[in-house]
Symmetry: C2
DNA sequence: GTCTATATGTAGATAGAC
DNA sequence: GTCTATCTACATATAGAC
């Protein structure tokens, strides 16, 4: 593995474990057993490293939330796919969500990219909701699609921050993120087609069980 | 006005206008035309100043969200009271919401107070929802009262942050905060008693109009 | 109570040798 | 590519005079 990639991987690890603002470029270098000067040979600055991580983040969002049309969406497995992807992105990039505004406002170029990705995501999410409406899985009034999709994105984007504010220790467990996933389902609950109550119950039970579980220290 | 109070007032003003992290103790002193040393005569440190502002915040929350029982809640004016209070707290202390985790995690004592206030607020909000249930204004399943109240608090607490992330300029307008109030109503919409549709429509129209309005530069 | 001057601490970043 | 040494910049906080 190239030094450059090792730096990105170490940065992501340390940022997630200790919080982005508590991890300096010196810490990253020390963790890898290289010098600060070497780190600055590979990256212009700390934002440059974060920018690399952001590309992974954007990539994941694009791959996981590209909407698929057709009856596939009527199946329950599609829900697991999307909700697991929500969990994954919250977990894998929790440092980013925990510090979103700091990170964005100190780097206008990154902020621009973020807004583009969010715009795409908003469109994909609305398309998905419309598709689920068409499949009679959900029943959402047309004019509520946009604001509802915005609230869903908002809850996912700030669930990590919210949970961090709720606890004296900054540590974020997988369980509290699954709680966030369960809340997303709760937000959609009033809009589920009456005949899909059983499916919703199954989904809810699944994520609520994960939310109740003590955090797995051997997560990948 | 005592110097100590002038410092608190200036700090709140500058924090809200420029963001807490962009305003140093030196800036506050300069704004008042006093020396940094003088500021530190009145306050032990910056957190100490923020702690004073927090007392105003907590006071407002306690006064505005103490639940009233009885048929008063069936009236539509009670909605305006609570929703206006939501707007006021978001606006008046927007610097705090914009930087919540930074501020809390750098001052454990403040964080403890925050959690106490939030706990109270959560209880008051749940009592209020139960009361509105009893008055047949809302129809919320018992087991959803707690999670719904949590989502409402979460959306209010992070609406400022969310809006800040959505814009390249950190400036927060009154209109976007009224949008947040409108979203709170949207979250409650599925739970409104079918016969209260007209009342909901009136409320929504009111806050959506304020949300659409260009920001008033002469706000009090 | 208020001032001037200065100390402390630290993160981010660079220069130049190897 | 990597190292050591160092610099800059700045916010927080303090000392001691008035």
């Amino acid at each position: 593995m190239k030094t450059k990639d090792r730096i990105v991987a170490a940065a992501l690890l340390l940022f997630n474990e200790q919080g982005e603002s508590n991890v300096t470029t010196n810490h990253i270098a020390a963790h890898l057993g290289i010098s600060p000067g070497n780190l600055y040979y590979h990256f212009r600055n700390k934002n440059d490293i974060i920018g690399r991580i952001f590309l992974q983040y954007a990539d994941h969002l694009r791959k996981s939330f590209t909407p698929v049309t057709g009856p596939a969406n009527a199946s329950s497995s599609v829900w697991f796919h999307y909700l697991d992807a929500v969990f994954y992105v919250m977990w894998e990039f929790r440092f980013f969500y925990a510090n979103l505004n700091d990170i964005l406002h100190r780097d206008p170029e990154l902020h621009r990219q973020y807004l583009l990705v969010q715009q795409e995501l908003a469109e994909n999410l609305q398309a998905l909701l419309r598709e689920l409406n068409a499949q009679q899985v959900l029943v959402i009034p047309d004019e509520e699609i946009a604001p509802l999709s915005e609230i869903l994105r908002m809850v996912v984007s700030f669930w990590v921050s919210y949970q961090s504010a709720q606890s004296l220790t900054p540590h974020i467990s997988q369980a509290v993120l699954y709680q966030g996933v369960a809340r997303v389902l709760l937000l959609l609950k009033p809009y589920f087609h009456p005949e899909k109550g059983l499916e919703l119950a199954t989904l809810s039970a699944h994520y609520q069980a994960l939310a109740a579980q003590p955090s797995d220290p051997f997560h990948k």
